[in-house]
């Protein structure tokens, strides 16, 4: 082989190992300045100070109210349809400083897309995405789904301005509660600019209708998208139930960098399938940036039907991205197992020390006050559990979800859904917000679907 050929071979071998790159990082544009006031509107110059004074008075009222509320053992929710604009800012003394400022949340004005239980012949969407400021309550932008699609999932990077959205086709078959993402989009936000959001379609492939998506999670650096899914779970598929897949895609190129599979003997297996939702939040990234944690074992023997006693025996597994593609169970390891606790969300904190369980009650034979939504955390080292938050009210059905957790799990953003009757015929209450020291302080994100990963911070 001559030198030129050796150069060809060596350069292609080296570049073939470059399979993903980090996303483009463009600077935020300059804030959009309002044009100067026309002469006929000079009155606004003296109205502004008055308005500022009114805001200060309102803020003081909120401060007092929040302080009183914080001394109660639990916070009772406001009206189910509370307007985000009516929620006050998070103020002094709370751990809000650690909370990302911006969030993106699925926003379904019709309320149909997130009904519980989902009607058999539901016509969905289109569901948009609301981008908001969690500290001020300000709505920054609403992002409409591209024509013919509806957003079904959202996940955030750690830079407070990058999100990945999952979109499904609006032409859904009836009885499919978990619309399969047909397309993925990169949402970049630039608050304060004339165009505060930019939506770009990614090359990450979609999956066929009937696929259950059990989790999506964007890495903190925004480079990787972890997706757990299983084809053929829902009856529209003609191909039968496939294996459970955990795939890590490059956000920049859309290529699958890693793909692990779990044979399930034709049974649905991914954590979250039972709830029939499409964006379970149980996949998290550990602080090292290359280890994924995911909930698994929502079945008997990890390869059988997902019912019976094993339902409450969910495990947290971790998998290192340096491991080659292959068998999911062989490549991952169990770091924690929950006993006799039904967790709708079960996630490991970024420091790897705490497991947080958002309860799923109301599907048991005994329906009682035990079904109030709860959040519990467990020490990975000792296995000791601790009640973090309880939404009290003697409900028949209670769902609690963890949407964001600080690295050590001491501060959470969660959402709850509580129904006085299991079938949804009675009182339904929803709430969501910052949870610390047993207290929930409302945040202004839409509360449409606490049982889905509807908001990401």
């Amino acid at each position: 082989m001559n030198v030129e050929e050796r150069v060809r071979v060596a350069t292609r071998a080296r570049t073939g190992l470059v399979r993903d790159i980090r996303p483009l990082e463009l600077p935020a544009r300059q804030p959009h300045r309002q044009p100067s006031l026309p002469g006929g509107r000079r009155w606004a110059t003296w109205v502004a100070p008055l308005a500022a004074a009114a805001v200060i008075v309102a803020l003081a009222v909120v401060l007092v109210t929040t302080r009183e509320v914080r001394h109660q053992p639990t916070i009772f929710p406001g009206p189910a349809t509370a307007s985000p604009a009516g929620v006050g800012p998070i103020v002094g003394g709370t751990p809000a400083a650690t909370l990302p400022q911006y969030y993106a949340a699925l926003d379904d004005p019709s309320g149909k897309a997130f009904s519980n239980p989902l009607p058999a012949h539901v016509v969905l969407g289109p569901v948009g995405v609301l981008v908001g400021d969690s500290r001020t309550g300000q709505r920054i932008a609403t992002v409409s789904a591209p024509r013919g699609q509806t957003f079904v999932g959202v996940t955030a990077a750690a830079d407070d301005k990058t999100f990945v959205l999952a979109a499904a086709s609006l032409q859904l078959s009836t009885g499919v509660p978990s619309p399969s993402p047909a397309a993925w989009y990169l949402l970049r936000i630039n608050p304060g600019s004339a165009h505060p959001t930019t939506l770009t379609r990614l090359s990450i492939p979609g999956e066929p209708t009937g696929t259950q998506f059990s989790g999506i999670s964007l890495s903190p650096n925004g480079r990787y998208l972890a997706v757990m899914f299983q084809q053929g779970v829902w009856p529209t598929s003609n191909s039968g139930t496939g294996p459970l897949n955990l795939v890590v895609y490059s956000v920049s190129t859309g290529r699958a960098l890693r793909a692990w599979t779990q044979q399930t003997k034709g049974f649905p297996a991914g954590y979250g399938w039972y709830y029939g939702r499409y964006s379970d939040t149980s996949i998290t990234w550990l602080a090292d940036g290359h280890t994924l944690a995911f909930a698994d074992g929502n079945n008997s023997g990890e390869d059988g039907p997902p019912l019976g006693d094993a339902f409450g025996g969910v495990k947290i597994r971790t998998i290192d991205l340096v491991r080659p593609s292959g068998d999911l169970l062989a490549a991952s390891k169990v770091v924690f197992a929950v006993k006799n606790h039904w967790c709708m969300t079960l996630q490991l904190t970024a420091d790897g020390k705490t497991v947080i369980c958002g309860s799923y009650y109301g599907n048991t034979a005994v329906r009682s006050a035990q079904s109030d939504p709860e959040i519990t955390d467990y020490s990975v080292a000792t296995g000791q559990g601790r009640l973090v938050y309880r939404f009290s009210g003697a409900y028949e059905l209670g769902l609690a979800n963890i949407l964001w957790a600080s690295p050590d799990g001491s501060t959470l953003v969660g959402s709850v859904l509580a129904q006085s009757n299991y079938n949804g015929s009675g009182v339904i209450k929803r709430s969501g917000g910052l949870i610390a020291k047993g207290v929930l302080t409302p945040l202004p994100f839409p509360l449409g679907a606490p049982d889905a990963g509807q908001a990401s911070f």
Partner: protein
Amino acid sequence: MEAPTGRRSAYEAQERVTELFQAHALGLVRLAVLMVGDQPTAEDVVQDAFLGLYRRWPALVDQDKALGYVRSSVLNGCRMVHRAKSHRDKIALEASTDIESAEATALLGEANREVLDALHQLPARQREAVVLRYYLDMSEAQAAQAMRVSRGTVKSATSRGIAALGRLLKENS
């Protein structure tokens, strides 16, 4: 209300530059990896090139030539990296944290590593010419355009680069 023209342009720039990045950045990072030797530095160079494109977008006379502009920026950025050795060394340390760096070393094989090591010992212009001609299979005219030099310069740089590689590989064998 319709955004002012300037703001529309900024919005368009972000969209178009992001689209170009999605389509071509991987290939440009691969090219830059051959020039600078490690992926984190290569990614920095490509990021800078697209950032430059974004900033200059409104002033681009022919936006269809944006890719050519970025490619030249990448080559220029790689030259700058070689000049700023201390900067390069600093970033090279960070390469060890890349999850694929160990895999890359293991999978390349000794013969290919020898060629790549020799390639990195060439002067920048010779390395560019060799890579553009034999990795991207560019013609002399295309390489000259990308390097912003004459065809004759490409021809001589390629010839000298291949000869130097031959000597280096022979010495190592």
